[in-house]
C-alpha cells in the first residue's frame, strides 16, 4: 500500500509575484540561519530566513524587470543575479549590506539562465547567452574577461541557447559546457578550443532545462513535450541517448539533481513536481500542491542529510518547501 504523497513542510508566501528562480544557502554553521534566495517577476530578490519563514531582505537591482536566475558564489554573502534588464549583477551581502558590486551587461534579451562554475579560489567561470542569436559566451569572474565565445557552425540552425551547464570532472580537469538549444539538441562544448565535441538531438521541441551528473557522466533534459530524455557521455566525449521517460502531461520548466545524486526533481507546467530516482529513473512521487505552472525547483545544501529540503517556486506566487527522502 503506497503512502499518499507528503504535504509541503511549509509554504512561503510574500513574494506577490511569479517566482522564477530559487537558490539555497544552508551550508554555513551556527549561528547563521539557513537562507533561501528567490527571484521574482517584479524584479525583487527575496532573502528568506528559513527559521522564521519570513523575508529578511528584498534586493532591488534590476529595475523592476524580472529576475530569472540567482546563484550563490561560495556562501550567502556573495550572490549573482540575472534579470530581464539584460544585466547580470554581483551582490555583496555580508554584514547586512545590500550592494551591487559589479554588473555585466549581457545585451541578451532571452531567458537563458547563466551557469556558474568555481575553478579556483576566488575565480569563477560563467557561461551566458551572448548578444548574437546562437552564441554562448564564457566569462571569467570577477575579472569579467572573456574566456571564449562558442559559436555553432554556419547552418546548424540550433536556435537560441535555452539552458547551460558548466562542469568539470574534478578540480584540475578542463571545464566543459553542456548547452541545450531551441531546436531540441544538446551540445557539448570544449572551452579551450571553443569547439563542439558532440551534439545530440534529444527532443522535438526546445530544451527547457537540463542537469548533469559528472560522476556517472549521465544527464537529463526536459522540454515542452511529454518526454524526458536521459543521455550519457561516453569515453570519447560523445553524447548518446540512454533512455527516455514519458510523462503524463507535457511541459517541464526546470530539472535539478540532488547533490547526493540519489533523486532528481522536475518542475512541470501541469502544476506538479515530480521526484524520480536518478539511478533508474524510477518515478517516486508526484507532489501536487501548486495551482499554476511550477517554474523552478532547487535542493538545499544542508550538511546534515536529515535536514535537506526541496523548494519549488510557481506562477501562483508561492514557494513550497518539502522534506522528502531525507533518510538516505
Amino acid at each position: 500500500m503506497a503512502l499518499p504523497p507528503p504535504d509541503p513542510q511549509f509554504v512561503l508566501r510574500g513574494t506577490s509575484a511569479v517566482v522564477h528562480t530559487l537558490c539555497f544557502s544552508c551550508g554555513s554553521q551556527e549561528p547563521d540561519v539557513p537562507i533561501l534566495f528567490s527571484g521574482s517577476e517584479n524584479g525583487f530578490i527575496h532573502v528568506w530566513n528559513l527559521r522564521t519563514h519570513r523575508v529578511d531582505t528584498a534586493l532591488d537591482g534590476h529595475g523592476r524587470k524580472s529576475v530569472y536566475c540567482v546563484e550563490t558564489m561560495g556562501g550567502k554573502d556573495r550572490l549573482l543575479s540575472q534579470g530581464r534588464d539584460q544585466r547580470i549583477c554581483l551582490w555583496d551581502l555580508a554584514e547586512g549590506r545590500t550592494a551591487v558590486t559589479d554588473s555585466v551587461f549581457t545585451e541578451n534579451v532571452g531567458f537563458c539562465r547563466c551557469s556558474l562554475l568555481k575553478v579556483a579560489q576566488g575565480r569563477w567561470l560563467m557561461a551566458m547567452a551572448a548578444k548574437a542569436l546562437e552564441e554562448v559566451q564564457v566569462l571569467e569572474l570577477p575579472s569579467k574577461t572573456s574566456v571564449c565565445t562558442l559559436k555553432p557552425e554556419v547552418g546548424a540552425k540550433l536556435g537560441m541557447p535555452m539552458c547551460l551547464k558548466l562542469w568539470q570532472l574534478n578540480c584540475g580537469s578542463q571545464p566543459v559546457l553542456l548547452a541545450g538549444y531551441e531546436d531540441g539538441s544538446v551540445v557539448l562544448w570544449n572551452l579551450s578550443m571553443g569547439k563542439a565535441l558532440s551534439q545530440l538531438v534529444c527532443h522535438q521541441e526546445p530544451v527547457m532545462s537540463l542537469d548533469f551528473d559528472s560522476e556517472k557522466a549521465k544527464g537529463i533534459s526536459g522540454s515542452s513535450e511529454k518526454v524526458l530524455s536521459i543521455w550519457s557521455l561516453n569515453e570519447l566525449q560523445n553524447l548518446q541517448v540512454y533512455k527516455t521517460h514519458e510523462l503524463v502531461n507535457a511541459g517541464i520548466s526546470d530539472i535539478t539533481i540532488r547533490p547526493d545524486k540519489k533523486i532528481l526533481a522536475t518542475a512541470g507546467w501541469d502544476h506538479r513536481i515530480r521526484i524520480f530516482g536518478w539511478k533508474k529513473m524510477k518515478p517516486l512521487a508526484v507532489l501536487d500542491y501548486h495551482t499554476a505552472t511550477v517554474h523552478c525547483v532547487a535542493f538545499s545544501d544542508h550538511k546534515n542529510p536529515s535536514e535537506r529540503l526541496l523548494a519549488a517556486g510557481s506562477k501562483d506566487h508561492r514557494i513550497s518547501i518539502w522534506s522528502i527522502y531525507t533518510q538516505t
Partner: protein, 632 residues
C-alpha cells in the same frame, strides 16, 4: 436399372413414362437417388449414354415433365452434370423451358443456393442455352427492380431473386455483357431506388449488394459503385456467389477420412508452433527481473494514482454551459462542456428548470464542432436529462418542433428517440438507479414483448399476464423493491397527444403520409412504446382510444415497417389499458381491430407482420378467457 449396351436401337419411351409417373406421384427422391448417380457415372465419358439420357428425359410426357426436371435439377451434383444429363432439353421442350426459366426462378423461392447454381450454370454451359440465360437475367432484373415487388414480396423471395441475379452475373463474360449493358444499367438504377426507399434494412442491403455487383460487372474500368453497409454472414455469402469456382475443385475426389487425416495433421503443427512461442516469451522477463533487483530499492515510491492528465475544466453552472455552447470559440471548453452537461443537468434540477426550454433548443440544434467520441450519445443523454428534469415545457417544445418546418429527418427522429428514453426513465421507479440505455438506435424493437424469436412471445405474453394477477400469499418472496410515485403519470399525455395530433397535415418540407414514411414508421413505434409505458397512468384509457383510432386510419399503409409499428401499437394498448376499461370503453374499436388483424394474419406478405398479428389475436383471446374466469 441396368441397360444393355451395344448397338440396339431400343425405345426408351417406356422408361420415360415410368420415370414420369413415379416422379409425379412424389417418389422423386427414391428413384432419382438411384438413377442420377448411376447416370452421372455412365455419362461421364460415354457419348452414347449421354444421348440415351437425353432421349430419356425428352420422352417424358409434358404433364409429368415438371416433376422430372425439378427432380433432376435438385439432385444433380453440379451444373456440368446437369448439362450432361439434360442436354438441350430446355431448348427443345416448351414445358421444360417454362419450368426452368420461369417457375423455379420467379414463382417459387424455396430452393437452395446449390439448386440455383446448378440451374443457372446449366443454362450457361451451352451456347444455345446461353441466350436463355440472358433472357432470364433480364426478367430477374425486371422483377428485382419493380417497386411493387420490393414493397409487397416477402424478404425471403427478394433474397432468392438477388442470389439468382448474382449467380447469373458471375457466369456472364464480356461479350455477353456488352450486348445487354444498357439494359443492365437502366434496371440497376431503377432497382436501387426502390430498394433504398424501403424501411427494412435487410432489403436495403440486398439492393446495395446487387447494385454494387452489377456496377462492377458493367464498369470494369473506371469508378465502380460502392455502398457502405454492415458486413455479416449473409452479405459475405451473397458476395461469394459472384465468383464461380471451377467445377474441378468443388468435387472432392478424396474420400472423407483422408481429408480428415490431413486436417488432423495440420492441427498438431499449429499447436506446436504455439507452444514454441510460449516458451520463448518467458525467457525475456526473467532477464529483466534480474537487472531490476539491484536498483535503488531504499527509495520507496509514494502513491501516484492521482497523477492524471490535466484537462481543461468544464463550467460548473448551467448558464455557463449555455454560454459556451452557443458562443464560445474555445473548442477545448466546448468539448469539456458537452461531456459534462448531462451530469450537471442532473445535479442541478432547479437551475435546469429555469432554462430548460432554451437548453433543449440548443441541444436539438447542436452540431458536432470537434471530433468527440460518442457525440451523438452524449447529446442524446443530455437531452434526456433535460426532458426528465422538466418534462412538461420541454415535451411541449419538442413535440411542437417535431411538426415544424425545416428540420432534418435526423432531428425529427432524434426528438422521437429522446421522448421515448425520457418516458422510459420517468416511468421506472427511482430505485432502479440509472436506466439502462438499451442501445440508442432501436429502443422500440427491444422493449416490446415478443419482437424477438417467435418461440419466446408466448412465454413473454404469459409472463406479462401472470404479473398482472394479484398474489395474496407471497410467502418467501424476494426483497421488495423500493417504490416511488410513477413520474410518467402526470406527463404521459403531454408526450403522447401532441405527437398524434398533426400526423395527417402535410407541410412543405415534411409529409408523414407521403415520402417521409420512414419517420412515420418511427413515429408509430414511438407511440407504441409511450402507450406501453403509460400502463397504470390516469390518461391511459384516453391514450388507448386515440391510438386505436390512429391505427385504424393507417391500417392499409404499404410500408411493412409502418404496419409492424401499428401492430405493436395494438399490443401496447391491449397490455397497457386495464381490462375493465378496454371492455367498457373500447368494445367497438376492439372488434373492428380484431377483424382487421385476422385479415393481416392470413394475407400480409411480411412475415413479421403476420407474427405480430397472431400475437395480438392471442392477447385478445386471453382477454376473453379472463372475462370468463372472473365472475362478473
Amino acid at each position: 436399372v441396368c441397360f444393355i449396351p451395344g448397338g440396339l436401337d431400343c425405345s426408351i419411351s417406356f422408361v420415360s413414362h415410368v420415370l414420369g409417373k413415379v416422379c409425379i406421384h412424389g417418389r422423386q427422391k427414391e428413384i432419382l437417388s438411384v438413377l442420377v448417380p448411376r447416370l452421372t457415372d455412365l455419362t461421364k465419358s460415354d457419348c452414347i449414354w449421354q444421348r440415351i439420357c437425353w432421349r430419356l428425359v425428352e420422352c417424358v410426357p409434358d404433364r409429368w415433365m415438371e416433376a422430372v426436371v425439378l427432380g433432376f435439377v435438385q439432385r444433380a451434383p453440379g451444373a456440368d452434370v446437369l448439362s450432361r444429363l439434360l442436354g438441350n432439353l430446355v431448348v427443345k421442350n416448351k414445358k421444360a423451358q417454362f419450368v426452368v426459366t420461369q417457375k423455379v426462378l420467379l414463382l417459387q423461392y424455396c430452393h437452395t443456393t446449390a439448386v440455383l447454381q446448378n440451374l443457372l450454370g446449366y443454362l450457361y454451359l451451352d451456347s444455345l442455352r446461353r441466350a436463355l440465360l440472358i433472357k432470364v437475367l433480364q426478367e430477374l432484373l425486371e422483377t428485382w427492380g419493380s417497386s411493387s415487388a420490393v414493397k409487397h414480396s416477402p424478404p425471403e423471395q427478394q433474397q432468392y431473386i438477388s442470389k439468382a441475379i448474382l449467380i447469373c452475373l458471375s457466369h456472364l463474360k464480356e461479350p455477353e455483357i456488352e450486348s445487354c449493358r444498357q439494359d443492365l444499367l437502366t434496371s440497376m438504377m431503377e432497382g436501387v431506388k426502390c430498394h433504398l426507399d424501403s424501411n427494412l434494412p435487410q432489403i436495403r442491403r440486398l439492393g446495395m449488394i446487387v447494385a454494387e455487383s452489377i456496377s462492377s460487372k458493367i464498369n470494369t474500368d473506371g469508378p465502380v459503385l460502392k455502398f457502405q453497409y454492415e458486413e455479416d454472414d449473409e452479405a459475405r455469402e451473397l458476395k461469394s456467389l459472384l465468383v464461380q469456382t471451377p467445377p474441378f475443385c468443388v468435387v472432392p475426389s478424396l474420400p472423407d477420412d483422408e481429408r480428415n487425416e490431413k486436417a488432423g495433421a495440420a492441427l498438431p503443427l499449429v499447436l506446436e508452433s504455439n507452444k514454441k512461442s510460449h516458451t520463448a516469451a518467458p525467457v525475456m522477463p526473467d532477464e529483466e527481473l534480474d537487472a531490476e533487483l539491484d536498483s535503488d530499492d531504499d527509495l520507496i515510491p509514494y502513491d501516484m494514482s492521482e497523477d492524471k492528465e490535466l484537462k481543461s475544466k468544464a463550467p460548473v453552472y448551467i448558464r455557463d454551459c449555455i454560454e459556451v455552447l452557443t458562443g464560445s470559440e474555445d473548442v477545448d471548453k466546448w468539448e469539456a462542456t458537452v461531456k459534462a452537461l448531462e451530469s450537471l443537468v442532473r445535479k442541478n434540477p432547479a437551475a435546469t428548470r429555469e432554462v430548460s426550454v432554451e437548453l433543449a433548443k440548443i441541444l436539438l440544434h447542436l452540431e458536432e464542432k470537434t471530433c468527440i467520441e460518442g457525440f451523438m450519445e452524449l447529446r442524446q443523454r443530455a437531452q434526456v436529462a433535460v426532458l426528465t428534469t422538466d418534462p412538461i415545457p420541454v415535451a411541449k417544445y419538442l413535440t411542437s418542433q417535431f411538426y415544424s418546418l425545416n428540420y432534418s429527418l435526423r432531428q425529427r427522429v432524434d426528438i422521437l428517440d429522446v421522448l421515448v428514453l425520457a418516458a422510459q426513465e420517468l416511468s421506472y421507479p427511482k430505485s432502479h438507479g440509472k436506466t439502462k440505455n438499451s442501445g440508442a438506435q432501436k429502443p422500440c424493437i427491444q422493449l416490446l414483448p415478443g419482437s424477438d424469436s417467435s418461440k419466446d412471445w408466448r412465454r413473454i405474453v404469459d409472463e406479462r399476464i401472470k404479473s398482472k394477477t394479484r398474489r395474496f400469499a407471497s410467502g418467501q418472496s424476494q426483497v421488495e423493491l423500493a417504490s416511488g410515485p410513477n413520474e410518467f403519470n402526470s406527463v404521459a399525455g403531454n408526450f403522447f397527444f401532441p405527437l398524434i395530433q398533426h400526423f395527417d397535415r402535410p407541410l412543405t418540407t415534411f409529409d408523414l403520409l407521403g415520402e417521409d414514411h420512414f419517420v412515420l414508421g418511427r413515429l408509430v413505434h414511438t407511440l407504441a412504446i409511450l402507450m406501453y409505458l403509460a400502463v397504470n397512468t390516469v390518461a391511459v384509457t384516453a391514450m388507448g382510444k386515440a391510438l386505436l383510432e390512429f391505427v385504424w386510419a393507417l391500417r392499409f399503409h404499404t410500408d411493412s415497417y409502418v404496419r409492424q409499428g401499428l401492430l405493436s401499437c395494438i399490443s401496447s394498448v391491449l397490455l397497457g389499458v386495464p381490462t375493465e376499461r378496454l371492455l367498457e370503453d373500447m368494445t367497438e374499436e376492439l372488434l373492428e381491430t380484431q377483424s382487421w388483424i385476422g385479415d393481416v394474419v392470413e394475407k400480409d406478405p411480411d412475415g413479421d407482420c403476420r407474427r405480430l398479428a397472431l400475437q395480438n389475436l392471442l392477447l385478445m383471446e386471453n382477454l376473453k378467457k379472463k372475462l370468463k374466469t372472473v365472475p362478473s
